[in-house]
Amino acid sequence: MQTLNNNTDVQLTEGLFIVEMEDRLETVEFATAATNSICRDSEAAVAAH
C-alpha cells in the first residue's frame, strides 16, 4: 500500500471536511406581533381611564 506524502497530508486536512448545513426554514411569526400590539393598546386604554 502506498503511503501518503506530506503534500497529501496537508491537502487531506484542508480538503476532506464535510459539514452538514442546518435546515433553512424561513419563518414569519404572526401571532405574537399582533398580540403584543393589541395588549399594549389595551394597557394604554386602561391607563387612559
Binding site: M21, E22, D23, R24, E26, V28, N36, C39, A45
Partner: protein, 411 residues
C-alpha cells in the same frame, strides 16, 4: 471495471457555491465540503474508478491518494453522512432540523412553485434594488403620517375601538404571512431553485408560517441574502399598497381609514419582528449569510467551548471548527456575547416581572377578581398575559438549558 459509485452517487449533486466553497446535496439537504472531497465525488460521478482518480489527482494536484483511501473517504463521508444521513451527534439534530415542530403543510411545493414563478420577475437585479428602496421609503412615510409623534405601538387598534379591528388584523395576518413566505419562494424560484412547501408550525411556542428553502445553501451569499429579504420585500410592497389605499380612502371612504391603519401596523410590527437575529427569523439568516457564519446558532452556543479549547491548548480544534478570518470571528463573538447576555438577563426579567405580577395579583384578589377601572374582558386579557408570560419563559428556559447541556456534553 464498472464503477458502482456512479450508481450510488447518482442521487447526490456536487455544486460549486463560490470560488472557495463547495457543496454536496441530496434532495433538500446540503453539506459544505472541502475542495478535494468535492473533486472526488465529481470524478466518481463522471464514471472514473478510484484507480483512475489516483492518477488524475497525482498529475493535476500532486496528491497521492490510494484507491483504498479514496474508498474509505467516500464511505466515511459521503455514504455514511450524506446518503445514509445518520447524524450521530444529538446536538446536530437539535440545531439543524428540530426547531420547528408540529408542522402542517398549507401549500404544496408544486403549487407554490407555480405561483412563485409569477412573481420571480420582482427579483431581477435592478427591479429588486429599486423596488426595495422605494417601498421602504413609502412605508417609512406612511408610518410617519399615521403615527405622527407616537410610537408605532400606539395604534388605534384596541379593545375600545372594537373587536372588529382585532379580527381584521388577525385575518390579514394569515394573508400577510402567506405573502411573506411567497416572497422567499419567488426569490428562490428566480435563482432556479424549486421552493418547497409553505407550512404552519411552532417555533418555541410561537405559531409561525415557514417556507423550506434549505437548498439555497448552494447559492452564493448575496443571492442567499436576497432570498432572506424576499419576505420583507413583499411586506413592504403590501405597506405601499396600503399607503395608496389610505390616500384614496381619505376622500372616498373615510370609514376604512382605521382598518387600513390597523393592518399597516400589524404589517410593520411583523417586519420589525422578522429582523430579530436571535430567533430563526429573517434577521438570523441575514446575519448568518452576511458574515458567512454557517450554522450560526450552534456556532454561537459552542463558541466559549472553542475559545477554551484554544487557550487551554487541548488541540481539539479541527480545521472546520477552528478559528478563521477575523472578519468572521468578530461578528460571531458579538453574536455569541449578546446571545449569552440575553440568556443571563432572562432570570432578572423573570424576577422583575414576578414582582410586578405579584402586586397585580394581590390587588386583583383584594378587588374581588376585578381590576379597578377595567372591564371583565380587560381583566381577562391582563390575566392571560401573565399566564402567557410564564408559559413562554418556562419553555425558553427549558429549551435553552437543553441546548446548553447537549452542546457541552457532546462534541
Amino acid at each position: 471495471m464498472e464503477n458502482h459509485y456512479q450508481t450510488l452517487l447518482s442521487e447526490i449533486e456536487a455544486i460549486q457555491v463560490d470560488a472557495k466553497k463547495f457543496a454536496i446535496c441530496r434532495e433538500n439537504k446540503v453539506f459544505y465540503v472541502g475542495e478535494l472531497l468535492f473533486n472526488l465525488v465529481k470524478l466518481l460521478k463522471e464514471g472514473n474508478t478510484p484507480t483512475a482518480i489516483q492518477q488524475i489527482l497525482l498529475e493535476k494536484q500532486n496528491i497521492n491518494l490510494t484507491p483504498e483511501k479514496i474508498e474509505q473517504v467516500i464511505e466515511e463521508n459521503i455514504i455514511n453522512k450524506v446518503i445514509s444521513n445518520t447524524s450521530p451527534n444529538p446536538a446536530d439534530a437539535l440545531f439543524s432540523s428540530k426547531y420547528i415542530y408540529g408542522k402542517a403543510r398549507l401549500m404544496s411545493g408544486e403549487t407554490l412553485h407555480k405561483i412563485a414563478r409569477l412573481f420571480q420577475g420582482l427579483f431581477t437585479k435592478y427591479i429588486f434594488i429599486i423596488g426595495f428602496i422605494v417601498t421602504s421609503i413609502i412605508s417609512g412615510i406612511f408610518l410617519k403620517e399615521v403615527f405622527r409623534g407616537n410610537s408605532i405601538f400606539d395604534s388605534s387598534m384596541n379593545t375600545q375601538n372594537g373587536l372588529t379591528y382585532i379580527l381584521v388584523s388577525y385575518g390579514f395576518l394569515i394573508f400577510i404571512g402567506m405573502f411573506h413566505e411567497l416572497g422567499h419562494a419567488a426569490a428562490t424560484a428566480h435563482y432556479k431553485i424549486a421552493p418547497k412547501e409553505i407550512g404552519f408550525g411552532f417555533y418555541f411556542i410561537f405559531p409561525v408560517l415557514y417556507t423550506d428553502v434549505s437548498k439555497i445553501w448552494v447559492l452564493n451569499k448575496y443571492r442567499r441574502i436576497v432570498v432572506n429579504l424576499g419576505g420583507i420585500y413583499f411586506q413592504l410592497i403590501i405597506g405601499s399598497v396600503l399607503w395608496l389605499l389610505y390616500h384614496w380612502s381619505l376622500s372616498n371612504a373615510p370609514e376604512l381609514l382605521g382598518y387600513i391603519q390597523a393592518v399597516f401596523l400589524t404589517n410593520t410590527v411583523m417586519i420589525i419582528y422578522s429582523m430579530n437575529p436571535f430567533m430563526r427569523n429573517d434577521g438570523y439568516w441575514i446575519y448568518s449569510d452576511l458574515f458567512e457564519i454557517e450554522n450560526l446558532s450552534k456556532s454561537a452556543f459552542t463558541y466559549p467551548k472553542k475559545v477554551y479549547s484554544y487557550f487551554a491548548g487541548e488541540h481539539k480544534i479541527s480545521f472546520v471548527s477552528g478559528f478563521k478570518k477575523i472578519s468572521k470571528e468578530i461578528p460571531l463573538l458579538i453574536y455569541c456575547l449578546t446571545n449569552y447576555m440575553l440568556i443571563t438577563l432572562l432570570p432578572f426579567l423573570v424576577y422583575k416581572m414576578s414582582r410586578v405580577n405579584y402586586q397585580k395579583i394581590r390587588l386583583l384578589i383584594a378587588n374581588n377578581w376585578h381590576f379597578q377601572g377595567m372591564s371583565y374582558a380587560e381583566t381577562g386579557i391582563m390575566i392571560s398575559k401573565i399566564v402567557f408570560f410564564y408559559v413562554i419563559t418556562t419553555i425558553v428556559i427549558i429549551r435553552t438549558a437543553k441546548m446548553l447541556i447537549t452542546t457541552y456534553r457532546t462534541n
